[in-house]
Amino acid sequence: MREIVLIALGAILVNNFVLSRFLGICPFLGVSKKSSTAIGMGGAVIFVMTLASAVTWTVYRFFLEPNNLDYLQTIVFILVIAALVQFVEIVLKRFVPALFKALGIYLPLITTNCAVLGAALLNIERNYNLLHSVVFGLSAGIGFTLALILFSGIREKLEFCDIPDVFQGLPITFIAAALVSVAFTGFKGLFGI
């Protein structure tokens, strides 16, 4: 139990995927302009990341590893994630149309979100078991969402700031991200992680 809590806190706060591992920067910058889109994207990422962690772990341990095919890891994982995203899209559309409408446009973007593939690879690298992998995927997704929502709040405020010409747009966004990241480095050493 203690280990699970540590994995979760580590992925959400201490080694936040976006702010300290630089995974998923593209969606972090792309959809953080408004809080509502940030929440939509975050929800989709949490959902897919948890599923992808479970599925890639199962495929690796029960199919690739016994057959000595671990060098196919990258190819198989990216195909599994792409297929999974498609599958989730179809299932949601059919059975939970309300959720599909909310997450709709964000789902296809997730295939190329390196946070999802990153979580799948880290699960294997760290020899997590299935439960740990799922917890890690779920909390990495929550960490991503947390960073995204915090940052979107800051960006909404930035719109009204008087920023020097050359810093307008991307540069000030990155500098704001640096400050959020500084805040998150404050969690380093928390609970001895």
Partner: protein, 230 residues
């Protein structure tokens, strides 16, 4: 003879200067920020990505007429993943140090948006020769950008550069530059410098041609005025 070679040159130059994938298009941010704690790592990542990009551009350019339009993206991703695996195995075998330093960011080349973007925008529309040049140009631009970010971060954050000791003994290095926040900070400032340079260039052009097509600048200005009004 002069014409095709000049086109080839412009394709090559395009990736390094005008459409630099990192500094101008802001693609492939994850590796650009994650591995650039040292200039050497930046170069390693740049070369690995250039290799994948060249390989995938060649193959995709060869098969562009056979692949049906509807399944082209999955096919492209599979090709890219294949080359990523090759790079991963080569690095593991011949440069284990670099492999260890870059860690999971090597397999993550597969989701680097630069590579899929070039496959979709260039290799699937052009011949093999031009696709190779495009890959080398884009890869070169990526490597140079990583080298710049890595150099700034390493000099400021550790006082060294490529193993040489520079300012380490004179001033205390600002360790935050090699920590994650430094990545965001340095990149923000580099983009600001590039904005400044391109604003100056546009201003010089404007004198002769009216609107310098800097739509971003115009939007920024109107936004600023709106803010003042409120």
């Amino acid at each position: 003879m002069a014409k095709p070679s000049s086109k080839a040159f412009s394709v090559l130059k395009n990736g390094i200067m005008k459409e630099n994938p990192v500094l101008k298009m802001v693609l492939g941010m994850c590796p650009s920020l994650a591995v650039t704690t040292m200039a050497r790592n930046g170069i390693g990542m740049g070369i690995a990505a250039t290799f994948v990009l060249t390989g995938s551009n060649i193959v995709i350019s060869f098969i562009r007429k056979i692949v049906p339009d509807k399944v082209r993206i999955p096919v492209f991703i599979t090709v890219i993943a294949g080359f990523t695996t090759i790079v991963q195995m080569l690095l593991n075998a011949y440069l284990p140090d670099v492999y260890k330093e870059l860690g999971i960011y090597i397999p993550l080349i597969v989701v680097n948006c630069i590579i899929l973007a070039r496959a979709e925008m260039f290799a699937s529309k052009n011949g093999v020769g031009l696709s190779i040049l495009d890959a080398l140009g884009m890869g070169g631009g990526f490597t140079i950008a990583l080298l710049i970010i890595g150099s700034v971060r390493e000099i400021l954050g550790a006082g060294t550069w490529m193993g040489l000791t520079l300012t380490k003994d004179i001033i205390d290095p600002a360790a935050i530059m090699i920590l994650p926040p430094g990545g965001f900070l340095v990149f923000g400032f580099i983009i600001a410098v590039i904005n400044k340079i391109s604003v100056l260039k546009v201003r010089n052009k404007e004198i002769s041609s009216g609107c310098g097509m800097n739509c971003e600048g115009c939007a920024g200005q109107s936004g600023e005025n709106g803010g003042d009004a409120q």
